[in-house]
């Protein structure tokens, strides 16, 4: 093996940096799932009757469903009765200020480089930090509420704005949608809720850090973002998780609703524990993310950088109902060691003159398997719909794989569809070229990977882009360009 190939392997075999477990007393229910567990979750969260009914409806429907097998991912059967469905850090009341937060928890965030003070006070980012299943810190809420923006944990929204939650919950991802979303609908514990009123432009990036912590706790997050007419919001979601051996299931649901002329930008950095270099352990990430451009001229933009998880099953999608509405999907997915990623998007064109853009960058290294799976559907009603799709794959080494499954369904002849796809390899010749200019192989790799992802990274908000570059092992580019 040549030196540069060895270097590539060393580089892609770096250990996961964020592996540690914080010891906080947790309040858990025993493993297993039945109607009593769901009632218990609902009761613990003091939920109204209608929500319990909704959960139970979902649970009963879930019992009739089978786990999907069409994705290009392989894993041993999941024991759904072996999962703990509720676990919350013990706390009598919600913290009123940052000082009231458990010091252990604060330390965890600090290890991750997420100081709430820094995030909140210096960067102007409001953080609704989710630690396991209960939101423990919400900052900047006051400032946001002065503008009429609601940003809270999901549970709090259920208590304080039940009508809004009831109106929109399940309006984009119905409880019967798919196996994992239905499971989530039955057992979701917490998540985030955002409502931006008419004509309001949210002045800061809203940010939530998710972190799976209690051992063997499946995490079922539920996020709902509603942007009322003419409003704008940018939401950041970033994740890290501690190292452990057994696989952890994560089945979140994110619903976005954009009314007339509203815009939602949703950015994700996902860096959950991917398993060790032999493929042991790691998070199973089966997520349903979907946005509805309900109003005319509305826009929903998904940007994701997926570097973690043992298995990723995720298709952030847009339903373009409103006339002239726009859907975008920008994705970087990295599969290293034995990671498997099956990710992509669905763009469903329903309204007239709707437009969508898909830019997907898949990076495969080690034994990683990276699949792009995308659907562009133009319904009969979608006159003059347009789509542009670009799917690029980058291979590092010769044991990994890249797969592309673009599905296109067009029922209106006025549609314009474009699809481009490339597969390339980080070549010895590229590395040698950089070496010959004095650049080390490691720096050359980061440079090449960064260049490959550039179209997507530049879509991220600045502070997030920096984190994404770090995650991809990238140093300078982007801040210079």
């Amino acid at each position: 093996m040549s030196t540069s190939t060895k270097n590539i392997e060393e580089l892609v075999n770096r250990e996961y940096k964020y592996g540690f477990v914080t010891d906080i007393e947790t309040d858990s229910v025993p493993p297993g799932l039945n109607e009593d567990v769901i009632r218990l979750i609902s009761a613990k969260k003091q939920e109204p009757e209608w929500l319990l009914e909704w959960r139970l409806k979902a649970y009963r429907h879930w019992l009739t469903m089978t786990e999907p097998t069409w994705a290009n991912v392989h894993y041993p059967p999941i024991d759904y009765q072996g999962i703990i469905y509720y676990s919350a850090p013990k706390q009598k009341e919600g913290p009123k200020s940052l000082d009231e937060i458990d010091p252990e928890l604060r330390k965890t965030y600090e290890k991750l480089g997420i100081s709430l003070e820094e995030q909140g006070r210096l960067a102007g980012v409001a953080v609704d930090a989710v630690f396991d299943s209960v939101s423990v810190a919400t900052t900047f809420k006051k400032k946001l509420s002065e503008m009429g923006i609601l940003f809270s944990s999901f549970s709090e929204a259920v208590r304080e704005h039940p009508d809004l939650v009831r109106k929109y919950l399940g309006s984009v991802v119905p409880y019967s949608d798919n196996f994992f979303a239905t499971l989530n609908s039955a057992v979701f514990t917490d998540g985030s809720f955002v409502y931006v009123p008419k004509g309001v432009r949210c002045p800061m990036e809203l940010s939530t850090y998710f972190r799976i912590n209690a051992s063997a706790t499946g995490q079922f997050e539920r996020t709902l973002i509603v942007a009322d007419e003419g409003s704008y919001v940018s939401y950041l979601e970033g994740c890290t998780a501690p190292m452990r051996d057994e696989n952890q299931l994560h089945a979140a649901v994110v619903e976005l609703v954009a009314l007339d002329s509203a815009e939602i930008k949703y950015s994700t950095i996902q860096n959950w524990y991917p398993g060790d270099k032999n493929g042991k352990g790691g998070i199973y990430n089966f997520v349903t993310k979907r946005g509805k451009c309900a109003g005319v001229n509305s826009k929903i933009s998904w940007t994701q950088v997926e570097t973690g998880s043992a298995i990723t099953w995720k298709y952030p999608s847009c339903i373009l109902v409103g006339e002239n509405s726009v859907g975008e999907f920008y994705s970087v997915a990295l599969a290293n060691n034995y990671q498997q990623a099956d990710t992509g998007t669905k763009m469903i064109h329903i309204g007239r003159n709707t437009r969508s853009t898909i830019i997907s960058k898949g990076i495969s290294a080690g034994h990683g398997q990276n699949t792009y799976r995308g659907l562009v559907k133009v319904q009969k009603s979608a006159v003059d719909a347009r789509n542009f799709s670009q799917c690029d794959s980058l291979l590092i080494g010769d044991k990994c794989g890249a797969h592309t499954f673009p599905y296109i369904e067009v029922k209106n002849p006025t549609a314009q569809m474009e699809h481009e796809a490339t597969t390339s390899k980080i070549g010895e010749d590229q590395l040698f070229y950089c070496n010959q200019r004095g650049i080390s192989t490691e720096d050359a790799m980061t440079m090449i990977v960064n260049g490959f992802c550039r179209q997507v990274l530049r879509k991220l908000p600045m502070e997030f882009a920096v984190e994404a570059q770090k995650l991809l092992g990238i140093s300078l580019e982007g801040s210079v360009g």
Partner: protein, 261 residues
């Protein structure tokens, strides 16, 4: 004065095929040497071996660069020590800005030499000035490295990089091939600007044409992995007139090059 580069009995293989079969060549600072030869004679192999390409295995001989064993150095160390190769087929690096790439190279080299990173403004001024020298359009210096460049633009970019990085030993691997006469003059102008007493050039070319503009001090003919003839600049003209067949028919005087220098 110690020579800049001493190649002694260099043998190199690609796989199990021996391509270089005992090269002897010495370059002193301030000199321009041209290497000519037919296709498959080992010209490009020689340039890649000097730059440290791992596709080739050196099976015998040694190469001293400024008195140090060049073959023990990694490709990036060679580059940082001032060895520059203008590639025959420069690769594309999609999404990586040309100027950013060059800045990374410049700073890696400066770091190696214990110098501070170049100030962004100074760097930009240098880049602009050099781009002008090789008549490279400013839009090209901010495009991704070689991406979508024409063949001529890629070659020009190599020379542009060379003039920014200011190497001590520059190896030009058929930089002239595929260039029109105007581009050829631009490339030559870049080389001639850098020409000086502290620098040496090894110009590999198929055709004599380039040597009208970069006038070499010495010309060597490479054939079947050996230098079969060395001479002054007039040797190039002779080759142009008579073709390589003329040399190949003669018995290979393997010691000629070493004796010559």
């Amino acid at each position: 004065m110690k020579p800049m580069l001493e190649i002694k009995n260099l043998h190199a293989k690609a796989g199990c095929v021996e391509i270089l079969k005992g090269i002897n060549l010495t370059l002193k600072a301030g000199e321009v040497h041209a290497i000519m030869g037919p296709n498959g004679s080992g010209k490009s192999t020689l340039s890649h071996v000097l730059a440290g390409r791992e596709t080739y295995v050196v099976s015998e001989g040694e190469v001293l660069y400024q008195g140090r064993n060049l073959l023990e150095m990694s490709p990036e160390e060679r580059a940082c020590e001032g060895v520059f190769l203008a590639f025959q087929y420069p690769v594309e690096i999609p999404g990586v800005n040309n100027t950013y790439f060059l800045k990374a190279a410049m700073n890696a080299i400066r770091k190696h030499r214990g110098q501070e990173e170049l100030d962004a403004m100074d760097f930009l001024a240098l880049v602009r000035q050099r781009a002008k020298l090789v008549q490279m359009d400013e839009s090209l210096i901010n495009r991704p490295v070689n991406e979508g460049f024409s063949g001529g633009e890629k070659k020009r970019n190599e020379i542009f990089q060379m003039t920014v990085l200011e190497p001590r030993l520059a190896i030009l691997d058929e930089t002239d091939s595929g260039l029109d006469i105007d581009a050829l003059k631009v490339v030559a102008n870049g080389v001639n600007t850098l020409r000086g007493p502290e620098r040496a050039f090894l110009v590999i070319t198929h055709y004599q044409r380039l040597l009208n503009y970069i006038v070499p001090d010495f010309v060597h003919v490479l054939s079947e992995g050996r230098i079969v003839r060395s001479g002054g600049k007039e040797l190039a003209l002779e080759l142009e007139a008579k073709g390589y067949g003329w040399i190949e028919k003669e018995p290979a005087p393997s010691r000629v090059a070493a004796e010559f220098v």
